[in-house]
């Protein structure tokens, strides 16, 4: 019998602990597929963030460093510059990357570090119990924006992909979602491109993935998936924002 669906080799067989309907598991799988696709498992090192992705080491059959909150791009810079032949990816949540770690991601991008970044935007701080994130949508209630996010009080949801795409050091920047099979296929492509960007030494390969957090949104998994299309995608448009082509290497 020909298997039609198998676990990527880079994923361990440990069941995901994530809440029902959370997209971290799907995104983990995409990253594992990319590691397999480019055959880099034996030389891959991940810098995980503090957040729900802190459990990354449980699921990936690779070396992992859990960086201090927000600092994964800096830790990864040290790893990659010491060991340029390793494949180094960063996996960060939106609190981690777009709040406390804003300086680190912007400067790693601006330095053109050859790193692959997987940025999971679920519009809340998941692990700590649903506080407002920099990406929280206007009107969205969270435990620290109990009256709904309001721009006069909390500012606007931050668009990291658009921001980072402006920087010369970024070779690839895209925003994707994994809420439908078609978008999942696009997301896979983008993650693969972000991997290739590092392998081709074209600077930072950055993918923002819109993700659900049913628990902290107070929604059932299906409602949460629908929210991605209804509320998130209109504000966070999907697409490739930057792609450095063949010869114009950094």
């Amino acid at each position: 019998m020909k298997p039609v669906f198998v676990r990527p080799q880079s994923l361990t067989d440990k069941p995901f602990h994530f809440c029902p309907g959370c997209h971290h598991g799907v995104i983990h799988r995409l990253v594992a597929e990319a590691i397999d696709r480019f055959g880099v498992r034996e030389r891959t090192i991940a810098a995980a963030s503090v957040g729900c992705s802190v459990f990354l080491y449980d699921y990936f059959d690779i070396d992992v460093v859990e960086s201090p909150h927000g600092r994964a791009p800096a830790v990864a810079t040290g790893i990659k510059r010491t060991n340029p032949d390793k494949f180094v990816f960063i996996y960060q949540g939106d609190g981690d990357l777009a709040a406390i770690g804003t300086a680190e991601i912007i400067h790693a991008a601006n330095r053109g570090e050859n790193l692959t970044v997987v940025f999971v935007n679920n519009t809340v701080y998941g692990m700590t119990g649903g506080q407002m994130a920099p990406t929280t949508l206007l009107g969205q209630p969270t435990t620290t924006s109990p009256y709904g996010r309001e721009f006069g009080q909390d500012g606007y949801p931050i668009k990291m992909t658009e921001m980072l795409a402006q920087l010369e050091g970024v070779g690839f920047a895209a925003r994707v979602a994994v809420d439908t099979p078609a978008r999942l296929a696009q997301a896979r492509k983008a993650v693969f491109r972000a991997f290739e960007t590092q392998l081709e030494e074209k600077g930072m390969g950055f993918v923002e993935i819109l993700s659900s957090c049913p628990t902290n949104w107070g929604m059932k998994p299906l409602e949460a998936v629908r929210r991605i299309e209804r509320e998130m995608i209109p504000y966070f448009p999907l697409g490739v924002y930057k792609e450095r082509k063949g010869s114009d290497a950094l």
């Binding site: 406390i100 119990g129 109990p146």
Partner: protein, 380 residues
């Protein structure tokens, strides 16, 4: 200092709430009108409570991008005239250290609630510890004297939430409420008094804002916009606030005054509580949640005929040296249990002048009274 009595915000009488909610309510009652913070377990409920309550009261709340920005916003708000605070836990407290020194050096009144978890580093985010005691004192570089309080109950979280502001304003100093996870997450009864005493900032825009004639004085504090032509700087400054970055006398006078203004007032700042010490032959010296276990251990030991008491430290910095020295003269042995590897014990040894035994527990759990009873039986 101008002091007034203001009506409490909550209905006077009995309430049931967590320590984290209580410290927020206590601060609000004492006029806290600005909060800036960044979420972190096990302190987040303070921020969440403030996010709801401050707008309700027409006061200001800001979620910042990290703890460095949070504490700096608090410093800015304080100089703009607010009673400002933030709350955090170990990793965030570590990030605040540069600004804590800035606040001490610029004599900025502000309150930081540190709900301690099991460190170091990310450690055990949801578990208890008391490992930040020395950090609260020594965490920023250079010589300075912060004030740190150690609550043992939800009631004391409420009381100290207010008292911290009064101390901060009176001595122009950052005040740290060194709570612990077990106290922050403790749900218990608190009694809200009908009114709260509020120490107001002494404002004298003509006076020198950063110096006094006395070597241990606290200068009056203007706010931005008061007409004082204010310059606030983290560099060495003279009494008027002008930078004097190469003058040895100005530096020495300032650094010494900042320490002396706190140390000379130890007797009015430091609070301790004596439990069953009159006839005690041995005594626990404990603080925070551990003092609850120690008190229970004292009761059990007394039931077995042992003359044991408890000196509870409500102030940790400045260290209540006199109270401990006095205890050391009256008992044969002092017992110091801590949820760290020995941080207050050294201070007790320096002050006590009698044998000191220590008990350390760093497993992310509170110390059980039974453990203290067996230990006390062993060492006394």
């Amino acid at each position: 200092m101008p002091t007034e009595t203001v009506k409490s915000l909550l209905t006077p009488g009995t309430h049931y709430m967590s320590g984290n909610e209580a410290v927020a309510e206590g601060a609000l009652a004492a006029g806290c009108d600005f909060y800036a913070g960044y979420p972190i377990t096990p302190s987040s409920e303070i921020m969440e409570h403030m996010a709801r309550r401050l707008p309700e009261l027409g006061r200001r709340f800001a979620q910042m991008e990290d703890e460095i920005a949070s504490v700096c916003a608090v410093i800015g708000a304080s100089w703009a005239g607010a009673r400002a605070m933030t709350a955090t836990s170990g990793p965030g407290f570590s990030l605040m250290m540069e600004a804590l020194g800035y606040a001490a050096f610029t004599e900025t009144p502000m309150v930081i609630v540190d709900v301690q978890r099991a460190g170091p580093c990310t450690g055990q985010a949801t578990r208890v510890g008391a490992g930040d005691v020395m950090q609260a004192k020594w965490g920023s570089h250079g010589d300075y004297q912060p004030v740190a309080l150690s609550p043992w109950s939800a009631q004391e979280m409420y009381d100290m939430g207010g008292e911290a502001f009064n101390l901060a304003e009176r001595y122009r100093v950052p005040v740290i409420v060194l709570a612990e996870e077990a106290v922050g997450h403790l749900y218990e009864r608190i009694d809200v008094p009908p009114s709260t005493r509020v120490v107001r900032r002494e404002r004298d825009p003509g006076a020198a804002p950063f110096g006094t004639k006395e070597p241990d004085g606290v200068p009056p504090m203007p706010a931005f916009g008061d007409g004082a032509l204010l310059l606030v700087t983290g560099s060495t400054h003279d009494p008027r606030g002008f930078r004097r970055t190469e003058d040895p006398d100005v530096h020495r006078r300032l650094v010494e005054r900042l320490s002396r203004k706190i140390l000379a007032r130890r007797s009015e700042i430091c609070r301790t509580e004596a439990h069953l010490l009159e006839d005690a032959e041995a005594a626990f010296v404990a603080y925070g949640f551990t003092a609850r276990s120690a008190l229970e251990a004292v009761r059990q030991l007394r039931a077995q005929g042992r003359r044991v008491g408890l000196l509870r430290l409500q102030t940790l910095w400045p260290f209540p040296r006199e109270a401990v020295a006095d205890l050391g003269r009256r008992v044969c042995r002092i017992l110091v249990p801590e949820m760290n590897l020995g941080q207050v014990e050294g201070e007790v040894r320096k002050a006590a002048g009698c044998p000191v035994a220590t008990y350390h527990q760093v497993d992310g759990q509170v110390i059980h009274p039974d453990a203290l009873v067996s230990w006390a039986l062993e060492v006394t």
